[in-house]
Symmetry: C2
Subunit: 378 residues, 2 copies
């Protein structure tokens, strides 16, 4: 009895996740490591990833939104859910501090406009909410800038109304910590936090955690590296890819020269060709830019994408394969052991995380699929 | 009390959906119209859209996968669920015909390799499964080609083992039905189906349903037009956009000349600028190609995207707005009344449906948001 082969399937290698977690912790040389699991764990699925990170010893999770924070809590059972620290990078963002307190969540304050809600909360409850504070040292995205540092001083409203757990900043050239702009950001971070009360200083991420003790400070928060996606231009320690994506062949056709393949005549066969239609499209996160560019892997061969990317289908030229070698029901590797996510992303002109992030919608059905454990033919 | 404003929100205009449904039905001049709701109703959310289409009189739904078909059934209650006809464009694709029969689903056969499972089913059960049959008249994607037509003749295995409800084909230049290639596809469709037993002939889609009676045949299956996304190069009847997307401002900062905004120095301010950080990124479906390209709409103004697109954030230059006019918690229109999804898609170099399709992951939380009905400030 066959398994259904009507759409792409994401698979996760949890041994690789454990390996990467240990690699990152070793690089961090003992400082606490938090896992960044925003965007449904970069598309890998919070429900699958977070309990395993917990089992590996991870006690701190970083997300972007309240919705994501609740999904992290929900993924952990009982005692674990209560003991996990969850930080929300987009800050309070209009949510009542009471709701953060009730759920045990820590907002990462995004700027001075978030101080008034904390004052209201302290006045209403007499309690000081634990918060982290984002410092904008050069990315121009979130946080308090140099002119706003007085608001963070111990005599100010922040410390009256809240308790700061982390000072947080983020690098504009996160992939290249030795860039002069990164060194300047680090210098500002050191100088600014020296003037402020003590809290965990969090600057190291997936690349800088590997850049030596000068980057470690008190804390690292790591996403990409945990999934085995190198975020660095420098030599990256051996990380192993966690995610692989396969998509099934729906049909194979031998067509004569001059046949249009796909929409709008974006490809016309220059000679007789064998074309496989694969159930994978832009709705599954395959970049629309892969018109006659890039490869999938079928029967051990890199087979070129021909024509454009439709919502749920793409064509590959499998003429190099023997007749009958590629059949409906075979699984093409989109990325995995034979083609890295970085290689496909480069062909598409996007960052590797774009491919991962957009697989989020595949995660739930893929989880069920993994439990069924069908045979992957390829 | 504020509503949370930490991520993008999709809103649906069901009056527009009703208007578009009636417009399509009028264009079809009486032939049955099926709704194409693959990819979670093109990202709008099956749970929200399908029951409303049912209430408008739609009785036939087209999806790509078994998983999607079950979601359509689940979205309808009781009698409605049983009475809806659901066609699955990716065919049996390895699923046992018994499972299609049990769920009342009709596979659209993708090629001769799908005949053997039907024979097995007929032998096991004595029943003939209702099926549709895809004919490949020129798209080179799915279906039986000219050489495979004998397998569809009344004396063959298909009719012994199954009952054909629809002959289906799809245009390679669906947006331009008057193209010679489309006329050739139609000619083949007419010629091929004339040799075959009668079943509903389905060729008209969102563009060709408006191209006059020569395209209507017995049936139309329509997706894009229902959502108000014109799929045609020809004059499109007045369709109204169903989906709009808004994303909140997280922070506003005034920065001096020479400030880098976003990753890797992709933008440096040429003078003093006011920069708003918006919670919307490639993980939400915003195309990665929008580096220093395209606009969002804030405070009634088209404000340019500066820097690149991160996983969950993008920056816009709001220097044209008065000081204090743009504040955290305001909602930027990504597409909607002031900027069409087509305009943003054009700036990104993608099809409009790419933007819609990738909003699929936003649909569930947006549905809850719509029930809360917060005030959208913009």
């Amino acid at each position: 009895m066959n398994a259904t082969y009507d759409g792409p399937r994401l698979a996760l290698d949890f041994d690789a996740l454990a390996h990467n977690w240990r690699t990152v912790c070793a690089a961090g040389m003992g400082q606490p490591v938090g896992a960044v699991v925003k965007n449904d764990a970069y598309g890998l699925g919070v429900a699958a990833v977070v309990p395993r990170l917990w089992a590996l010893g991870c006690r701190e999770f970083w997300v972007a939104t309240l919705h994501e924070a609740l999904a992290v809590r929900h993924s952990l059972r009982d005692a674990a859910a209560g003991a996990a620290r969850i930080l929300v990078l987009n800050g309070l963002a209009g949510t009542r501090p009471e709701d953060f307190a009730a759920q045990g969540l820590t907002p990462v304050l995004t700027g001075p406009h978030e101080l008034a809600p904390l004052a209201g909360y302290a006045a209403r409850t007499g309690a000081r909410l634990p918060v982290a504070v984002h410092l904008d040292t050069g990315l121009t995205r979130l946080g308090f800038g140099a002119a706003q540092l007085p608001a963070l001083q111990p005599q100010g409203a922040l410390w009256r109304d809240a308790q700061v757990t982390h000072w947080v900043t983020h690098l504009g050239r996160f992939h290249d910590p030795e860039a002069p702009q990164c060194l300047l950001q680090r210098e500002r971070f050191v100088e600014w936090t020296r003037q402020l009360p003590a809290a965990l200083r969090s600057i190291a991420t997936s690349s800088s955690v590997f850049a030596g003790p000068g980057w470690h400070f008190d804390h690292a928060r790591v996403g990409s590296a945990l999934w085995g996606v190198p975020a660095s231009q420098r030599a990256t320690p051996m990380l192993r890819p966690v995610a692989s994506l396969h998509a099934p062949v729906l049909r194979v056709a031998d067509v004569p020269a001059g046949t249009e393949v796909g929409y709008a005549g974006s490809y016309t066969t220059p000679g007789p060709r064998r074309i496989a239609t694969v159930a994978l499209g832009y709705g599954d996160g395959l970049p629309f830019s892969l018109v006659n560019r890039g490869y999938l892997v079928l029967a051990g061969r890199h087979v070129p994408i021909v024509g454009g990317v439709a919502m749920g289908m793409v064509a590959v030229d499998v003429s190099a394969c023997a007749p009958g070698e590629v059949r409906p029901g075979m699984w093409a590797e989109v990325y995995g052991a034979q083609q890295s996510v970085q290689a496909l992303a480069a062909a598409a002109g996007v960052a590797a995380n774009v491919l991962l992030a957009l697989s989020a919608r595949l995660a739930p059905r893929s989880a069920a699929w993994q439990e069924e454990a069908p045979e992957v033919v390829a």
